[in-house]
Symmetry: none
Subunit: 159 residues, 2 copies
Amino acid sequence: MANLSDIIEDFIKKMFDEMPEGILEIQRNEMANRFQCAPSQINYVLTTRFTLERGYFVESRRGGGGYIRIKKLKIREDEFLKDIFEAIGESISGSEAKAIIERLWEEEIITEREMKILCAVINKYNLPLRPADRDVVRAYIMKAVITALLDHEARKGGK
Amino acid sequence: MANLSDIIEDFIKKMFDEMPEGILEIQRNEMANRFQCAPSQINYVLTTRFTLERGYFVESRRGGGGYIRIKKLKIREDEFLKDIFEAIGESISGSEAKAIIERLWEEEIITEREMKILCAVINKYNLPLRPADRDVVRAYIMKAVITALLDHEARKGGK
DNA sequence: ATAGATGAAGGTCAGAGAAAGTCAAAGATA
DNA sequence: TATCTTTGACTTTCTCTGACCTTCATCTAT
């Protein structure tokens, strides 16, 4: 974990542990100062790691007394799976797919074991195809997984 | 013997002696530099020597702070794994794969839900490729699944 | 009171830099 | 000859920064 962005990401996520409300406020400059980086790197971390797809909502205010507020979103399982299905599209990269799988685990929709299995399946080294084909196949696989999860849930819920 | 790829292979394998967790991170350029070879030769070594069949799992990340992570699987001498790998081979049809997955469920190695997810993943409608490629990709997927599964259990139980 | 000035936030974006990945072709070797 | 190794030119992905822009609260002079 050599890069700063990962460290800042972890730091922010740890802050959430002390915020049972799931709402956090930070100051951009204070953050940049703490990590000795350019203020814009904080935006970079936010836009790459605290996105809607990853379950966060960010808002902010400029000027004196400004802030950046990060909210951890609460989900409804069925809607959530449908949204993910829509978001996958025709083609998906390994890192995007991994983020989705990790999110499914964080939301306790899949077990740790299922997460590991799925990460292995979508891994580049385990899909011996040309990059473009690989991303397409990966999208199909992900959608198949989501569909199976939805189906499994429906059968369980509806008797 | 004594070609560079073999030497790099040995070197990496020795590095595992100091990693009791069986997880190693290397830098591609640093490696290439150490052995005075083209960086892409490191990929060659990884894809020919550190395969699932040989008991390794590889993942990586690009960009600043990038890395290549090699996991030495905990279950390399497992007879059961060897049998299944042999059954899968280089290429496997949908129905053969399905039979193996159902067998795993009957043996209570995987849950019902995992069975459903996996059957969806290996289904031909979810692998949009020419039949020959599809069977090869399916074989990789099956091996990745079995490997991830057994490794997860081995790490959980054995340590 | 109020327009304008000031300073204190945060936002944007393009570009440089840092890795790793791909693939075809050339070179060895058995 | 067939397979395995090695290379290098090109690509893609991810990180980090700095210059410049926008927004907001408050202070100041009228």
